[in-house]
Amino acid sequence: MALKLSDVRTDLFNDWCPGCGDFGIEASLQMALTELGIDINRVVLFSGIGCHGKIVHWTNTFGIHTLHGRTLAFAQGAKLANPELEVVALGGDGDGYGIGAGHFVHAGRRNIDMTYIVHNNGVYGLTKGQASPTQRLGEQTKSLPQPNINNGINPIILALSAGYTFIARSYAFNTRHLKETIKKAIAHKGLALVDVLQPCPTYNDIETKAWYDGEDRRDASGRAVPRVYDVNMKGHDPLVSKEMDEDQVDKKIQHVFRLSKEWGDQIPIGIFYQEIGTPTFEDRISARIPSYLQNPPAKQIPPGTTKSTVELEKLSSELTVQANNV
């Protein structure tokens, strides 16, 4: 039976601020899950601490609201324990690129088959609008007494250098684009990043919805000219495969780098980079432990087990007191 949106949505009270970009991300994620038709018992959402984290309560799947910054670490442990789970981790820009930056980088080295969605609004919203790691140098959002003294990081390039095999950016209020991007991210075999540009109507008075939509820029007919554009519609092919030679890959990476630097009048969204054929961490474990996928850690000791299941005595003759054979 096909899933309906109402199947993946809970009826709990939603307390995000009116106009929050989180609404767009929540709706897109829920639509993506509905359209993919995944068994929702198998889906687990992991969130960090910040406004984004509440999404797990409003989505009808297994979920865990973890610690600030630790979403990826927690989610990787769960996915490795049971690779059958469809793991979607969610974080904020402070959560994922600030306090959790170490985990963000090292997750790339493993390429575990899961999706990481970062709600990126340039501020620490839940703590009243301090500058987040993605806020640009010299910007001064509403709560800042002085312009931001730190440079903003570039999540696309950070992910690329860390080894993410799917790197995309979308925009919270382009739910059609975001939904499709999330679907592709989930379908991708390997670690997928979806960095989502998201207005914070309360604390980010620079990158507002009106700004992203280009309300301040009108064409001849008086229509707003959106700042956000789809790079894939403009011909950017994100695919990198094992068949490509080094020069082709280098050119692709240079182009991704250039795209990732665009900001202001032209803000690219879309799939920047997708690597096909890189073994996932699950593949790498399976190469060592052939039974891993059929019998992962979470399934080896099923509920109701009462006796030790490994005959370790056989491991080594050193383990038993025995007659000396000298």
Partner: protein, 595 residues
């Protein structure tokens, strides 16, 4: 030495520079003794370097079951002058120093210690261009001095070098034989031990025993970040991963290690991680998360001397306070401190069962002395132990579901809620590090502080904390050694128990009225029973390896038992029985003086 059962006991010490192969030589002589029917305990006095410096390997063997490092040194084998200078004062009368006069000048030696001079380097040079086999020659010499069958050493050498090209083992065996013959010509065996070659005992460190016990108990997810002295656990797990189906996760830091371990447990695996104090400090926030989300988890801290980086290769029992105070606010935890490798093996399944039965973090405290730094022989290990996954269910009880959501944090009579794992139909829930209601729904946002929700917060907090009352009933009371009603009672815990128990024998021979109370289950404490048991104690003496008597303070806090006499060691070395003996003799003197 003459006062002891000298023919049933051997203590010996090899000393050299790091890189001289003293660890493998030590392990070989340990095997020689453990395969000759002896019970053996060792200590590896190493430093935080790869080459140079000074390292030593201490072995205590006995015909009776022992876990301590014994009394003094019967046989010293110093390969360097520094090794002689550092250790000769501990030589027992009737013992011997086996040395190469080219490398070591004997001085100030007790005339009742025999000097056995062997040209270790010259013999070694017969078999290799460099004198690297001098430690093997020394082992051969030692076998003659203690009167053990040289063939047992040959077999141990074969095992040690078996994987290399055959000439390596052959030459080492010849070198050992030369050393053996040379000493045999000089002296009769200095020990008259009836070795029982029909019995060989396995020897292991507590790290190794714990890994073994954990995997036997169903641990299939192990996470770690490298840190001495916990690293042997990850080495064991990684090398057995394939055979036993263990997923090993080498995290980027201890924060990721702890979170991934909780994640794996949340997903349904029996999961464990280990570290030492500094790494544990980084894990703390996540341990609070495990308690709040009621996710079972087993965490091992192999203590080393601190604070901060401290002495990475030296021992301590100084992390107890950290365990008692992990992370913010109150939450239940269990702290277990096995005393030796064998007990570590059996502690692992207990820890997993407690963690799952009560859905709490369980901490196992080991220390360098037994964890990484010392082997002990163990009896036959019983692998047939019970696994209890507690209230982990695959179908929801009707009272705990509304069709698809599962009341994961339901308040029950015993304060333990039924639990499900992701992927289980009709048992969906959200686990939450914020305060939550019985369904896991948030209490921290729009409901926090509202008068109708205050009782729910109170009840959820109480539900978690009250699990301690049930856990207490499963905590073991201290093991008592020696006569009841003794004048002096030694209170000790964890690995310090080993030296205390050995000292009791000598003290009893000297007619001292003393007993001991060894704690291995530390927290939660059955305060009433502990108070009752200790009310029978004499003058209490607290023995532990930290500056501030952390366990004695816990006893006071929990059971109201006050101790005023302490033997506290914090120089990085483990406690030796003679130190306990000396302290107790001094205490007796004081007591008599007052009386």
């Amino acid at each position: 030495m003459s006062e002891k059962d000298s023919d049933a006991e051997i203590t010996l010490r090899l000393g050299a520079a790091a890189g001289d192969g003293i660890q493998s030589a030590g392990e070989m002589i340990m095997k020689v003794l453990s395969r000759s029917g002896m019970h053996v305990t060792t200590y590896n006095g190493n430093q935080s370097l790869i080459r140079g410096g000074h390292v030593w390997f201490h072995v205590h063997a006995s015909t009776k079951k022992i876990y301590s490092l014994g009394y003094g040194i019967d046989f010293l084998i110093p390969l360097t002058q520094l090794s002689y200078d550092q250790h000769f004062e501990k030589l027992n009368q009737g013992g011997a120093v086996i040395y190469d006069p080219v490398a070591v000048k004997i001085h100030d030696l007790d005339p009742k210690v025999m000097q056995i001079s062997v040209p270790l380097a010259d013999i070694a040079l017969k078999y290799d261009k460099r004198p690297i086999m001098k430690n093997t020659v020394a082992l051969g010499s030692l076998c003659a001095a203690i009167g053990v069958d040289i063939n047992v050493l040959s077999k141990a050498i074969q095992d040690q070098f078996g994987r290399k090209e055959p000439a390596v083992a052959e030459n080492n065996i010849k070198a050992a034989m030369d050393g053996y013959e040379m000493v045999k010509k000089q002296t009769r065996p200095l020990k008259n031990i009836q070795y029982n070659y029909s019995v060989r005992r396995p020897a292991m460190t507590a790290d190794y025993a714990l890994a073994l016990g954990a995997v036997a108990a169903g641990c299939r997810f192990y996470a770690a970040y490298p840190m001495s002295p916990a690293s042997p656990i990850v080495h064991w797990m990684a090398s057995h991963a394939k055979k036993l189906g263990i997923t090993v996760f080498l995290g980027e830091d201890e924060i990721s290690v702890m979170n991934a371990t909780i994640g794996a447990s949340y997903a349904g695996a029996r999961a464990m991680c280990a570290t030492s104090g500094g790494g544990f400090a980084l894990m703390q926030e996540a341990i609070g998360e495990a308690a709040m989300t009621e996710t079972p988890v087993v965490v091992v801290d192999v203590m080393r001397a601190g604070p901060s980086t401290g002495l990475p290769t030296k021992t301590s029992q100084g992390d107890l306070n950290m365990m008692l105070g992990i992370s913010q606010d109150d939450f239940p935890r269990v702290i277990l401190a096995p005393r030796n490798p064998e007990e570590s093996f059996y502690t692992a399944p207990r820890a997993f069962n407690l963690a799952e039965r009560y859905q709490v973090p369980v901490i196992i405290l080991l220390d360098f002395a037994i964890g990484d730094g010392g082997y002990s022989t163990v009896d036959n290990l019983n692998f047939a132990f019970e696994i209890d996954r507690g209230k982990l269910l695959s179908t929801p009880p009707p009272a705990y579901t509304n069709g698809y959501w599962f009341k994961r944090f339901a308040i029950t009579d015993d304060n333990i809620s039924p639990r499900s794992i992701p992927g289980t139909p009709d048992m969906m829930f959200v686990a939450k590090t914020d305060e939550h209601d019985e369904w896991g729904h948030d209490l921290s946002d729009v409901l926090a502080g509202l008068k109708e929700y205050l009782p729910i917060r109170r009840r959820m907090h109480e539900k978690r904390m009250k699990k301690l009352e049930e856990i207490k009933k499963e905590m073991k009371l201290p093991e008592i050694y020696g006569p009841s009603g003794a004048d002096i009672s030694i209170i000790t815990w964890g690995s310090s128990s080993n030296a205390v128990r050995e000292a009791l024998h000598e003290l009893h021979k000297k007619g001292v009225s003393v007993n001991s109370f060894e704690f291995s289950d530390i927290y939660p404490m059955q305060e009433d029973e502990v108070r009752k048991i200790l009310s029978t104690a004499g003058i209490m003496v607290d023995v532990e390896v930290n500056y501030s008597a952390q366990f004695a303070k816990l006893l006071k806090r929990e059971a109201g038992v006050e101790i005023n006499n302490f033997f506290l060691k914090y120089d990085g070395e483990p406690i030796y029985p003679e130190e306990v003996e000396k302290h107790i003799l001094a205490t007796r003197k004081e007591v008599h003086a007052i009386a």
